[in-house]
């Protein structure tokens, strides 16, 4: 019988011996890293300059508008949305949304507190299929439709080492938020380590929240599921997914986007 210690030593020695030559590439690899990182920097600098110099409408619009007083802008938009909802109840959903779009530009400026730094972003009015409107930070996210479900995902796909980052919006026609919350709570219990009790919330939307987290590592998956009335017999289910490290990044952005979520009278004739 071989001694246990010898087995361990031989395994280690074998791996060391077979990797001795690979360390010779150290400087060569460093040069590649340096070049690539320098290139990244150069690229981003060039991009900024180009944006400043050329007529890039998004960038050009951004600065002066924001300096002028975003509070006024945001207030006006909120008022228009409310007015729209109460006065156009007889329009079809499509027409209604188009109508709103005519009243104010589909893009507006918001300032979000992301990871401690105020960030200026442009968000766009997106017309979801389920009778709601939401503003999407189009610089970072896009709305995709998969199997009839609307999902807000990052514009650039995330590296596979990151858990899923998304905000999914679905509508259930015949179940109330409380009933769905129970179902979701039970479901999450099966796959997440910690599931918090169902709570009523007013921010970012008024409804019920079931939140869960699976572990306490940087990449532990986090989910927040908001259940709110569709102002008829059913509910909207809005599920945010991100990971612990991204709570103040993607998490905060989803929160802000969701603040602008509005149910519209899509089926009214």
């Amino acid at each position: 019988m071989m001694e246990e210690k010898n087995v361990d030593q031989e395994i280690k020695a074998s791996m060391l011996k077979h990797t001795d030559t690979s360390i010779n590439n150290k400087e060569e690899i460093w040069k590649q890293i340096e070049t690539k990182l320098a290139l990244h920097k150069e690229n981003s600098n060039t991009k900024t300059e180009e944006n400043n110099m050329n007529d890039q409408p998004r960038m050009n619009r951004k600065t002066p508008k924001l300096r002028k007083g975003k509070g006024w802008l945001t207030g006006t938009i909120a008022a228009v949305v409310l007015l729209g909802i109460f006065t156009t109840a007889t329009d079809t959903g499509q027409a209604f949304v188009n109508n709103i779009k005519e009243y104010f530009a589909p893009q507006k400026q918001v300032v979000e507190e992301i990871e401690g730094m105020p960030e200026e972003t442009e968000v766009s009015l997106q017309e979801g299929k389920a009778g709601y409107i939401i503003y999407i930070d189009e610089e970072r996210y896009k709305l995709v439709e998969e199997d009839g479900i609307d999902q807000i995902v990052t514009k650039e796909p995330l590296d596979e080492r990151y858990p899923e980052v998304s905000m999914t919006i679905t509508q259930v026609a015949d179940k109330a938020p409380a009933e769905l919350a129970e179902e979701i709570y039970t479901k999450l219990k099966k796959s997440y380590e910690t599931v918090k009790e169902i709570t009523a919330v007013k921010d970012p939307v008024e409804g019920l929240l079931v939140s869960a987290i699976d572990g306490n590592q940087w990449n532990s998956p986090v989910t927040n599921v908001y259940l709110l009335s569709n102002e008829k017999e059913g509910s909207f289910i809005i599920q945010q997914k991100y990971f612990l490290e991204a709570a103040e990044g993607h998490g905060a952005r989803f929160h802000h986007m969701l603040k602008e979520f509005k149910v519209v009278e899509a089926d009214e004739e």
Partner: protein, 178 residues
């Protein structure tokens, strides 16, 4: 400068500190990548290079209260897996053994005595092999390996045990033959 200071300096954009980190981590990073990626020099260089680039670009995501080393190796292993997946049709175990045999004819004699064991390590299934590499090459504890690979610690214990048993049986058989 200790490691925590070094990371702070990198977070503050100090490129010299990044080079210091490279000096500290390169040696074992490339050894791990070499074993994980079956000594394919091109893949190994890509994985190590990408790892350091990712570390540099995502250093703000690293939380200082946690140990840096597992965070670093998690990135490295993911990079290796990504590259292996991208080139997944390439390497089969048969090819590895064949390559190792042909290497033998050219390589220095000092490799010979470990040759068979190394082939046995390379022949382990990936899910047993990576924990073995992290434990024996770097000296990570089971809990740390579990965190790096995002697996339950008991799963890792079992994989380490199975992998090591196979290597032990191999060594014993070899000893008997001699």
């Amino acid at each position: 400068m200790n490691e925590a200071d070094l990371i702070n300096q990198i977070k503050n954009g100090n490129n010299n500190a990044f080079r210091e980190l490279y000096d500290l981590y390169f040696d074992y990073a490339i050894r791990v990548a070499t074993v994980v990626m079956h000594n394919n020099a091109t893949y190994v260089a890509d994985a190590v290079q990408e790892t350091f680039i990712r570390v540099y670009q995502n250093i703000h995501l690293y939380q200082a209260e946690r140990p840096f080393k597992p965070w670093f190796y998690q990135i490295l292993i993911n990079e290796c897996n990504r590259i292996l997946k991208r080139n997944s049709k390439v390497i089969s175990v048969g090819e590895i053994i064949e390559r190792r045999r042909s290497d033998l004819e050219f390589e220095n004699h000092r490799f010979v005595e470990y040759e068979d064991l190394y082939t046995a390590i390379q022949g382990l299934e990936q899910h047993n092999r990576i924990p073995i590499i992290l434990k024996y090459l770097i000296g990570f504890k089971e809990q740390e390996i579990a965190e790096i690979l995002s697996k339950n610690v008991n799963t890792i214990k079992s994989r380490l045990f199975k992998g090591r048993q196979k290597l032990k049986r191999f060594l014993e058989a070899k000893e008997e033959a001699n």
